[in-house]
């Protein structure tokens, strides 16, 4: 078994007087693509933020690659872990390549220019996310999906053994979603530890090595998709039924009906 890159032990987080994360213990290993799924408000984003050191837990401990996160210098942590936040925030109309190059900041000294290593990392990230065509353009000229890809490229340029991505596929068209997951799989196969928050259960079940289902701040289930996304779990966590199929020998799940809310009338048959 590969070594654990992320290890949280009984982590709890309170925000605004509410318990958001409640005693979460999980680990993610090198070479693994882990999907973090769960309903809205389950605490997925908060869990990523606390693992990234952006929030302090009220109890519990977090280790990155065997090192306690509270003892890591910010810059070293930034060389260990890249976070792709959910909100696609870009505040100034800087150029795409300048934005991607921000990923190299943890490696650069004060006022120093990009080193050849930095440039190679930026060029690889730009190529991986297929954004070379508009590398010179300003980020405000891009569509939502293009922005999303540029921001992913920014996180890839950080070139860290751990990558946390909060809904990276949101806003991407079908082909770029597939490209993204192919790339995330590739990163995992290179020996990185990749944790992705996602809502698309079909994508999650097809491409993640392992799923962690978070519900009301607790880990509800964890394991390979076929074992985790059982009718029982889907019913108790999401309140849905799903169609379960198989493609290329890999099981997948397509949500069908809500058991709690309203169901849209099925499309008329033609």
């Amino acid at each position: 078994m590969k070594r654990a890159m992320i290890k949280t032990l009984d982590v709890s987080v309170d925000l605004g007087g509410r318990r958001i994360i409640d005693g979460v213990s999980l680990d993610a290993r090198a070479g693994e693509l882990v999907g973090l799924v769960g309903p809205n408000g389950a605490g997925k984003t908060t869990l990523l933020r606390v693992i990234s050191g952006l929030l302090e837990p009220i109890s519990g401990s977090i280790e990155l690659d065997g090192e306690d996160i509270t003892l890591m210098a910010p810059r070293l942590r930034a060389q260990k872990l890249a976070l792709l936040p959910q909100d696609h925030v870009i505040h100034w109309a800087i150029s795409v390549e300048d934005l991607v190059a921000l990923g190299r900041l943890p490696y650069r000294g004060f006022g120093s220019a990009l080193s050849p290593t930095d440039r190679t990392a930026v060029a690889q990230a730009v190529a991986a996310m297929d954004v070379a065509d508009f590398a010179k353009r300003s980020v405000i000229e891009l569509s939502g999906g293009e922005r999303a890809r540029v921001l992913i490229a920014r996180a890839l340029a950080q070139d860290t053994p751990i990558l946390l991505a909060d809904e990276p596929a949101a806003g991407l068209d079908a082909v770029h979603q597939l490209d993204l997951f192919a790339h995330l799989r590739g990163l995992a196969e290179q020996g990185r530890c990749v944790v992705v928050v996602l809502h698309d259960l079909t994508m999650a079940s097809r491409f993640c090595d392992r799923l962690v289902v978070l519900d009301e701040g607790k880990v509800h289930a964890s394991g390979p998709a076929a074992k985790v996304l059982t009718p029982k779990v889907l019913k108790s966590v999401y309140g849905i039924t799903a169609y379960r199929g198989q493609a290329d020998g890999v099981p997948f799940v397509v949500p069908l009906k809500s058991l709690v809310g309203k169901n849209p009338p099925a499309r008329r048959k033609t």
Partner: protein, 347 residues
Amino acid sequence: MSSLAVRSQARPNTEINYAWLLASLTLLVAIAFIGSLLIGPAAIGAKATLLALFSGSQSQSDAAVLIVREIRLPRALLGVLVGATLGLSGAALQGYLRNPLAEPGLVGVSAGAALGAVTAINTGLASAFALALPLGGLAGGLAAAVIVQALAGLRGGPLTLILAGVAVTTFASALMSLSLNLSPNPFAALEIVFWLLGSLADRSFTHVWLAAPLILPGLAMLLLLGRSLDALTLGEDGAANLGVNLGATRILLVVGVALCVGAATAVAGAIGFVGLVVPHLLRPLVAQRPSRLLTSSMLGGAALVLIADIAVRVIAPGTDLKLGVLTSLVGAPLFFYLVMKTRRSLL
């Protein structure tokens, strides 16, 4: 690897552009500085000015030496210091708050400094000894910064800093209005109003020695913010993930602004629009990168204030046209233009 090739062609290109920009701005500052030494009500020729400045030998008339060294030189030096302060602190605040409308007065320091100076005038301290006015301004500016920082806290983010700045500015302005309102003699009230307009006239080396030891470290602190401001383009979480210490960034920003804006306001009064307009004008020339806006806005601010201070002397030589009035008069139409340009680019 084609993208790599594209990149290695493009990168030196933008580096050269940036170097050119800094070089031209430096040249502009140098020309404006010399212009500021040459121009004044006393007609002293260029050669005589330089002789008076550098040699000060007995062959020159004592008056020329006195005017150039004791009146024009400190005025030009203060122009550089105050302009650099306004340009750089405007750029730093805009970068930190990620808001192109931020200006040096936003965090309450200038209002605090103005209140301190007004108090010095009103209590009669300023007429008792000359340094009471700038010292009062310094004390007021630093006190305002301490209050704003205490109110906003370290983890509050930009919004709490803006709110705290607005609260302190409003309170300080109210107190200033009160002291004008209750001013026992009309001359003090007039002196306050004129002082508030902002000017570099009749300043001496005493003012330079008072302001420079605070302004220079303040500028240095703000220049250190480049990395953090670039990272903040990605928002607070994005910046924190890139290893930026947001608490340290906040302290560096507030202390840097307090030192240089407090000192600049204390010696020159409130000079508007420079800190707002200079980063705006330069932003397109540095491809919008917040780090590159710092040094360029510092130079641009110094050049603009020096030029405006020359214009004050040239446009209305006999009258006492205040520098702050002129910068606002010139700055406002520039802003109208920026609004129209932004509107056009949105259509």
